[in-house]
């Protein structure tokens, strides 16, 4: 049994054991599935996914947890369109159904939340209505109605959510169910009633899956693996597959953790449950499984029968197809920056490694094409400058800078058939992404950089390190030029007294342990005016080394922007557990030898902190030269195009998107950029 072997589910067969799990996308047209949904799922179906579970649809009017949350009552046509687009590729398509209960939102429905008991929701602090008997009946009927709609739309089945954001889990858990009636004395009763009603509505043929939180990480009253094993045993006869997840109201981030958690974080839990159900139902493991090797090992070891690889397939929709071709898929870096979209602003699901994700209807696909010469899996061919039909596009392409923007531009241009040369001033490729990868929890950024560089080289890009570009060289280059030279530190936004030590985060992160011992003194103040991952990453890199560290922020919370990745609570816990001091709502006013002066934003009180050095995690500025936009005309080719941080220092995702767009703009006339062909068939 391996990842690519088929899996029998009821009267259906999944062509492989890779599941694309349900997740928020914000792709909807209001609360209906949209054409963007169809294109998003179609790309994963064509890419070989075994089972696609669509974004969870709410089964009752009392549940509207986020603005674009699909409404099962409006989902029929969308489900039919998704089925029509995906099923012909050989994938199974299953609709996730759910009700968020007390974890929902009253902001859109303008009505009360429903829950088993009046326990306030941990994050919103909203007190729900204690469901009455008729309410429970209405929810059960809603599940059945939605299942009938899904089956009628031509889907292969449905998946009922009793996972982290679910009313059914709230009934299962002692944390949230303190009822005295039959749904409290028998906390599994609602789950049983829902599954029975859903099966009845589906008829005998369609698949019925269950997503079950098997560890709420709150052992004082919550579901533990032991309790969950009993629940799983009881419910197994009612379902055709079981996805093992974890997390609850107190641990929302645990379902899709960042790189701070180990990969395959739930594999042991899945194994426990699989043992408990003893073959009664196939068990799907979930939780930061992003590498095929780990998935295969888990399958081989009998920890699970299938794996959910959701983020891995957001990062590379053709994950399975590439595995079948023995190619390396574009790696998920477990950053959660663009794929975790439970955010009031309704960001569209996407991926920093593949910004086309979620934008399949508007962004061109990556150019297809085979690497020249040989199978890239077997090793990298030597760089072959001048390989492509460069005359068509006005000469060879020079990319200045081999960070994410430059590497992406180079590899996409090479796939278009251009001859590409990359000059990188430093000895290593990767730019700031390589530096960031040295912060705890961010190590997979190095994998992304490696993948970009490998792909570029495999397609014949000439990659030259230790080579900077002058304005004259850029002017003289006989073809197009893309400038991806990144950023530079901005001057400090505080007074720096003579003799004060002010360090940049990149200097601290880039240094190895020995160099850090030289560079970073015993006491440091980390100034974080941005609230992103950098300052927290620097603090964590220095944590547990005996240094006295204070992180200073103008915000009420350290790392506020991490709320988008789900790491905000985790980061704050890790910093405090490491004994790192935090000064909130302050401004850094002055760095002096041995001290830093902060000012409270509201009391205006000034405090002098011990600081052998200040690490300034403020914003960066675009690098200067070579060849800025609007610079002097060049003898050959158009003006240089700037991309990524060289335009404005932002994220890896922005860099990759702009690098790709600049390369695609060089597509020779007549060469259309189309979806990759020939993928997906086993």
């Amino acid at each position: 049994m391996n990842l690519l072997s088929p899996l029998d589910l009821r009267h259906h067969t999944a062509r492989c054991r890779v599941l694309f799990g349900p997740h928020e996308t914000n792709l909807g047209d209001g609360r209906a599935f949209s054409d963007r949904h169809v294109a998003y799922y179609r790309a994963r179906a064509e890419g070989g996914a075994g089972i696609i579970v669509t974004e969870e649809a709410s089964v009752h009017a009392t549940d509207w947890p986020y603005e674009r949350c699909p409404d099962a009552g409006l989902a029929g046509p969308g489900w039919a369109a998704i089925a029509a687009a995906c099923r012909p590729t050989g994938t199974l398509v299953v609709a996730a159904l759910g009700h968020s209960g007390g974890q929902g939102s009253s902001a859109y429905s303008q009505r009360e939340l429903w829950a088993p008991s009046d326990e306030p929701e941990v994050n919103s602090r909203e007190v729900p209505k204690v469901m009455e008997g008729a309410d429970i009946d209405a929810v059960v009927a809603g599940f059945a109605q939605a299942a009938a709609t899904a089956a009628g739309a031509g889907l292969d089945g449905v998946e009922v959510n009793a996972g982290q954001h679910s009313l059914i889990r709230q009934f299962l858990s002692g944390l949230t169910n303190r009822r005295g009636d039959g749904y409290g004395t028998d906390r599994v009763r609602l789950a049983r009633e829902v599954l029975t009603a859903v099966r009845s509505a589906l008829g005998p043929d369609p698949i019925l899956g269950l997503r079950l939180s098997c560890d709420e990480l709150a052992p004082w009253a919550g579901l533990t693996p032991e309790l969950a094993a009993d629940v799983a045993r009881e419910l197994a006869p009612l379902v055709d597959y079981l996805v093992v997840v974890r997390g609850s109201i107190f641990s929302v981030a645990e379902t899709r953790p960042t790189g701070h958690h180990p990969e395959g974080v739930n594999l042991e839990l899945a194994a426990t449950i699989r043992q408990a159900v003893d073959g009664a139902v196939p068990v799907v493991a979930q939780g930061s499984i992003v590498e095929a090797d780990q998935a295969d090992e888990a399958l081989a070891a009998g920890r699970c029968d299938a794996v959910e690889m959701t983020r891995a397939q957001i990062a590379d929709p053709a994950l399975v197809a590439k595995l079948r071709r023995r190619e390396t898929p574009r790696p998920c870096v477990l950053c959660n920056q663009w794929c975790r979209v439970r955010d009031n602003r309704n960001p569209i699901v996407s991926c920093i490694a593949d910004p086309r994700a979620g934008h399949e209807t508007s962004d061109p696909a990556e150019p297809a094409g085979r690497p020249p010469g040989r199978d890239p899996a077997a090793g990298h061919p030597l760089p072959r400058p001048g390989l492509g039909d460069s005359a068509e596009s006005g000469g060879p392409l020079l990319v200045v800078g081999a960070g994410p923007a430059g590497l992406e531009a180079a590899r996409v241009a090479a796939r278009l058939g251009l001859a590409v040369t990359v000059w990188e001033a430093s000895p290593d490729v990767g730019g700031m992404a390589r530096v960031v990868a040295r912060a705890p929890g961010h190590h997979r950024f190095a994998r992304l950089i490696g993948w970009l560089a490998d792909d570029a080289v495999a397609y014949g890009v000439e990659l030259v390190t230790g080579r900077s570009a002058t304005d004259d060289e850029v002017a003289a280059w006989p073809g197009p030029v893309i400038v991806a030279t990144g950023g530079r530190p901005a001057p400090p936004g505080f007074e720096v007294a003579p003799g004060a030590v002010v360090l940049t985060p990149e200097a601290v992160l880039a240094a190895d342990d020995a160099a850090r011992a030289e560079l970073v003194p015993e006491s440091v103040v980390i100034w974080d005016p941005l609230g992103g991952p950098i300052a927290v990453g620097v603090a964590e890199a220095l944590a547990w080394t005996g240094r006295r560290i204070t992180v200073c922020t103008p915000d009420p919370i350290v790392g506020t922007l991490l709320s988008l990745t789900g790491d905000l609570p985790g980061a704050n816990v890790r910093l405090q557990q490491a004994g790192i001091a935090i000064e909130r709502r302050v401004l850094l006013r002055r760095a002096a030898p041995g001290t830093a002066t902060i000012e409270h934003r509201f009391s205006a009180e000034r405090t002098e902190l011990e600081a052998g050095a200040v690490i300034d995690c403020g914003h960066r500025l675009p690098a200067e030269g070579p060849g800025p936009d609007g610079g002097p005309a060049r003898a050959h080719g158009p003006r240089p195009v700037r991309v990524g941080d060289a335009v404005a220092p932002r994220t890896v995702g922005d860099a990759i998107r702009e690098g790709r767009a600049a390369a695609l703009a060089l597509a020779p006339a007549g060469r259309t950029v189309a979806a990759p062909a020939g993928v997906g068939a086993p």
């Binding site: 009253s106 902001a107 209505k129 509201f602």
Partner: protein, 721 residues
């Protein structure tokens, strides 16, 4: 009485450019999040503005429209750079013009005060300075891009005229690329657009010239300027005055609008809550008006006509922006003009459902007006619209008589609604029932109406919350609701009233968390926030306030006790004390006051026990235990529904002749808006359920029992898109 009655300045006409405004009340620009998912104006936009036009506003200025694809900072922004926007413009302008009211479009580019999340393009700004809120480094625009911005303003201005607008306003004040250029804090350029004010204003002057050229001579062009950015190194009043003078000298502009603060840095002073005194920004129009001849608009928590009248009389401004006042009551102007000031549903400046929803990407509503945000799809019966002819300024006509005339004459077949509880939920239900022409009896156990809101309004700086009760109680009385105070509703008493429908709105009871012993079990020095406010408990000395709710409950009582001389520490298990104060823009002023009053704020601690005066706290990130030994512990914790009457009635309901509902905290303890919304909705549900043989009869424009609007969720979806 002359037209305008007691407000002779407010209701005197004013010429602004080519327009003559009937009065001085401006419904000034503000975000609504009513745009469609694809950035187009919606039917809700038209209905929303029309309601304020019908209500007598002198001039309406729409929310900002984006002039360029590089500017899309929040999802539901109108994309004026797309030509198809004109269709939506025409719908808005036709609706407003039906009432003889002029309407301008505010056009803008937010520059660096934005996110690239939606555009997927770099931000444009004068210099690569990240915005304090969005924290994204923008691209410094080059001359080519500056020219493109200027051209796009002109093109959009022309499009606005094509769409029927009477002119445009340029937002150069609190979130704009023009502000970015004007402010030394964000403009670090060394070219002709940076340096002295003349250079920093160059973009503004170029845009004004281009827009005026595109508009032609007739349409009105206004410029909105910031008088004080309230940020380090930002624009202050002297420079704002100098800029206004320069704008007037160059010509082309018809009026100056004003504002205070930077939307992404000092928003709490732009949309100030009730904690900031009314008229706090009046110094800005006052100073500018002293230096220019152009009409000047003043804004800043003008919430009643008297206050607006006084600002005009004292010469601080020529026009007054009343935004939240008209969000709460679209008929603000007609009621003022008719001398019915007491009838105006005064804004509370609570910011809970208007301002508080904007940053969360939700449609604009109002805590006390359940129709706000749903004008395009009203849930209740048609609102008895005051029939006002703006041209003549006639007073309310007989058509509006239901507003003031109870029609509970005995012998009619009007259904009888009995409401138990006179908090916001019960009062709104009573008002909505009476609005349908039903006979309504309201029983309130206490001697005063208002429930918990009445108590909450007794703490420092929260008095304006009490206007919610004043407004609702006044409306109930005007509509002839039979209000019986000091009457505890029991099942028997309710049944004796022979109701057709019963609505239970009995609120909530304080409760103790698991770790807190009862008063007779060692917890006599533990009390609820409610006990402090009623005077049932009088904590002294050192006090720990436990904040499990995260809103005004803990912070209000902490302030009250600190003012009484207590040493107060607030403890929360969350990462922030009073977390939701951020949503209503109360957080900054809370911190200023808390710092001054020495209130300690402690986060990340869960109360785990209380024994012999010692409170045990768990620091949950590290697992460390701590103790406190305060003189008192005050609980700001969720109460439990007071559902005894509901349950007792529910037992009788199956065989009864009446319908039974419960609303507000009695259903699930939440905030006042939930109570108000449910008060209205439940009456609609009852109207649909009542047998058609017993319809309400009424006079005037009411058509009770006949409205079967779409489900609320559909309306909300429509409004939100």
């Amino acid at each position: 009485m002359s037209a305008g009655g007691r407000y002779r300045y407010l209701f005197s006409p004013l010429r602004v450019g080519s327009l003559t405004l009937a009065n001085r009340i401006v419904f000034s620009a503000h975000l609504t999040n009513y745009a469609t998912q694809s950035g187009m104006p919606s039917a809700q936009h038209a209905a929303y503005y029309e309601a304020r036009a019908a209500g007598g506003a002198g001039m309406i200025i729409t929310e900002e429209h984006s002039v360029h694809p590089t500017d899309w900072p929040y999802e539901k922004m109108i994309h004026a750079f797309r030509p198809e926007v004109v269709e939506g413009y025409r719908r808005i302008t036709a609706a407003v013009h039906r009432h003889g009211v002029p309407i301008l479009a505010q056009i803008n580019h937010n520059g660096g005060q934005a996110s690239s999340m939606y555009t997927r393009r770099p931000l444009w700004a004068p210099s690569p300075v990240p915005d304090p809120l969005f924290r994204e480094v923008p691209k410094a625009v080059d001359q080519h891009e500056i020219d493109e911005i200027v051209r796009s303003y002109a093109a959009v201005a022309a499009r606005c005229i094509e769409g029927g607008f009477d002119g445009v306003e340029l937002q150069c004040s609190h979130s704009s690329i023009v502000r970015g250029f004007l402010s030394p804090a964000t403009n670090h350029r060394t070219d002709g657009y940076g340096g002295g004010l003349v250079n920093r204003a160059r973009l503004l002057h170029e845009i004004v010239a281009a827009v005026r050229h595109a508009l032609g001579p007739a349409p009105v062009l206004g410029v909105r300027l910031c008088g004080d950015e309230l940020i380090e190194g930002g624009t202050t009043i002297d420079e704002a005055v100098a800029l206004a003078v320069a704008i007037e000298e160059r010509g082309g502009v018809d009026y100056i609008n004003t504002s205070i603060g930077v939307a992404t840095a000092s928003l709490y002073m732009i949309e100030a809550s009730m904690h900031v005194p009314p008229g706090y920004a009046t110094f800005i129009p006052s100073a500018i008006r002293a230096a220019v001849r152009l009409p000047v608009v003043g804004v800043g928590r003008f919430k009643d006509p008297l206050q607006a009248e006084r600002a005009l009389a004292e010469g601080h401004a020529d026009l007054i922006g009343v935004v939240r006042g008209q969000i709460a009551d679209p008929d603000f102007a007609v009621k003022a003009r008719a001398g019915r000031t007491e009838d105006i549903r005064l804004c509370l400046s609570c910011n809970q459902e208007c301002v508080g929803r904007m940053g969360l990407n939700r449609w604009l509503g109002c805590i006390e007006n359940p129709d706000t945000g749903r004008e395009a799809a009203p849930v209740g019966p048609p609102r008895p619209r005051a029939a006002v002819t703006l041209a003549t300024g006639a007073h309310l006509t007989a058509a509006a008589a239901p507003d003031g005339t109870p029609h509970t004459t005995s012998g009619t077949t009007a259904p009888h609604l009995v409401v138990a509880g006179g908090g916001p939920a019960g009062l709104q239900a009573a008002v909505s029932g009476a609005q349908r022409g039903w006979r309504v009896t309201l029983l309130e156990r206490q001697s005063q109406l208002g429930g918990q809101v009445r108590l909450a309004a007794t703490v420092p700086n929260r008095a304006e919350l009490g206007d919610l009760v004043r407004n609702l109680a006044g409306e109930a009385r005007r509509r002839g609701v039979d209000i019986r105070l000091g009457v505890k509703a029991t099942a028997e008493r309710v049944e004796m009233l022979a109701p057709d429908a019963v609505i239970v709105a009995t609120g909530a009871h304080p409760q103790r968390p698991w770790w807190a012993p009862p008063p007779d079990g060692g917890g006599e020095r533990i009390c609820d926030v409610v006990d402090v406010l009623t005077g049932a408990a009088h904590p002294t000395g050192s006090v720990v306030v436990i904040d499990d709710i995260g809103f005004h409950h803990a912070t209000s009582v902490a302030e009250l006790l600190a003012d009484r001389g207590c040493q107060v520490e607030i403890v929360t298990k969350s990462m922030v004390v009073g977390q939701d104060l951020g949503i209503t823009l109360d957080m900054e002023s809370w911190w200023f006051r808390a710092s001054a009053k020495g209130i300690v704020q402690t986060i990340d601690r869960v109360a785990m026990g209380y024994d012999a005066g010692t409170l045990t706290l768990l620091h949950h990130p590290t697992g460390a235990n701590e103790t406190r030994s305060p003189d008192w512990v005050v609980l700001a914790v969720p109460p439990r529904p007071a559902d005894e009457l509901y349950l007792s009635l529910a037992e009788r309901a199956p065989g009864a002749e009446w319908l039974l509902h419960r609303i507000g905290d009695c259903l699930a303890p939440r905030r006042a808006h939930a109570a108000v919304v449910e008060g209205q909705r439940v009456v609609d549900e009852i109207a649909r359920a009542l047998p058609p043989s017993a319809p309400a009869t009424s006079s005037g424009t009411l058509t009770p029992g006949t409205v079967s609007g779409p489900a609320r969720s559909e309306i909300a979806a429509g409004a939100g898109r």
